[in-house]
């Protein structure tokens, strides 16, 4: 069976994503056939990404862990309903985003940060160097302040705008994938993205180059 023909609904952005989706579908079919242990492979593969998207929406690591676990449990319960109309990755993201949005709506007033440490490996080091003027003494403090300001600005965004900018800028989803995850049009995604960026630029102006 040509698995790529199954994905008629979602425009999968890259060939890598397509291959990934095909591989996921094989595993999903195994789970649907009764091989429950196969679901563990999906958990290991996607736990960081699911945790990441939830964490960037709630800015709290404990809540993010709970919500990510809930996402996997919901996905496991509903795995028989997954027909392959979209990629498993998009489907899982959709569950994660909906679970998180539901949590955020229930706990609108209760927002406090519990942040992960910024990893300075790779290309991030250059950005951090730029931002901290390469002075070791102030570096950690400045980085912590920047992280808090960034998360504060994100939390000031409305939930849909925050979701769009998280999925696009941090998780690297395409417009069409975000539209599918959020059940809206691509135009809406672009519009929300534009507004969210404008807002964040206003909030974080002093950290950005003029």
């Amino acid at each position: 069976m040509n698995l790529s023909k199954v994905f008629t609904k979602t425009a999968i952005s890259t060939p890598e994503r397509q291959q990934e989706a095909d591989a996921d579908l094989v595993v999903v079919r195994q789970v649907q056939a009764g091989d429950v242990a196969a679901f563990d492979r999906l958990i290991v593969k996607y736990r960081e990404r699911v945790f990441g998207v939830v964490y960037n929406l709630v800015s709290n690591r404990e809540d993010a862990a709970d919500l990510a676990q809930d996402t996997f449990i919901k996905a496991f319960k509903a795995i028989n309903r997954f027909q392959g109309g979209c990629s498993f990755f998009t489907w899982l993201y959709k569950i994660a985003v909906n679970t998180t949005l539901s949590h955020l709506r229930k706990n609108k007033m209760r927002t406090f940060f519990s942040l992960e440490k910024i990893n300075e490996e790779g290309g991030n080091a250059q950005i951090i160097d730029h931002l901290t003027d390469k002075r070791g003494a102030d570096r950690d403090t400045y980085l912590h302040e920047l992280q808090e300001k960034l998360n504060e600005a994100m939390q000031k965004l409305s939930i849909p705008h925050r979701t769009v900018i998280t999925l696009f800028e941090i998780d690297g989803l395409s417009h069409s994938e975000i539209a599918e995850v959020m059940d809206c049009s691509e135009g809406t995604v672009r519009s929300r993205l534009h507004y969210a960026k404008q807002f964040l630029q206003g909030e974080l102006g002093k950290y950005l180059s003029s």
């Binding site: 964490y55 676990q69 309903r81 942040l115 992960e116 991030n124 730029h130 400045y142 002093k206």
Partner: protein, 267 residues
Amino acid sequence: MSKPEQNSKVTLEDLLRLKRTEKPAPEFWVNFEQELRQKQLTALVQKRRWWHEVPVLLNRRLYMPAGAAAIVAFTLVTVRYSTPTQMAQLVNTAPQIAAADPAVETLATTVVAGLDLEQSRHDMQTAPVAQAAVPVPVTQVASVDDREASPLPAQSELQSPPARSLIANLARLEQTEPDLANTVIGSRLSSPARVHTAAMSQSELAPVAHAAPSKYRLIARYVDRALSPEPSAPASIRERLARRLGEDLGDEISRIGVVGDRVSLKF
């Protein structure tokens, strides 16, 4: 503390990219998996409520049977309750008719008196004409010799309103079209008493047609129209038609000529 003036070429995308690096330590995932296992077990042990099963059942291609069952149920309910509802409407309007002419007792008042609705529905199904003729003077029907008049049980008080209406209408039909009535219904209804009753009922409908609300006036007119003999054209129209027919016939004959053994036609 902040040094924005020293930063060059830092964009919003760069800042947001920093958030990608906010990742938990590897030991976090050990704890994460343990908690996930516990939650999975809890979810398996938890008894599911019946409303959680509904989407699952619907997903098992039960849409069609469920839809069909809903339609059948709706149809049955509609058939079961539609006729009593119509009767109930008549009950509500009964006082208006009674006010218009106290001598006339409508179907609705009879329903109020508590007659059997099931029997009435059965009668209406067997005699749809009776449904059209709603206001029927029951007092007159009651005067008919029941043993002769009705193929149904003898006491007219126990007969359902549509049955009484049917009897009255049939009596009128017998009066206006005796031959037709004999052919269609048979000799059982050819009673002089019934003919008399029907004539009286028709005459009594006249005041109703004027005094009752327009809805009932229309019904009364409909009853008159349905059971009256064939309408006859006025004398002037009849005369004109006869003259026209004569002219046409004469014209047709004048076009035909017979000479010897030949027949000629003019067009």
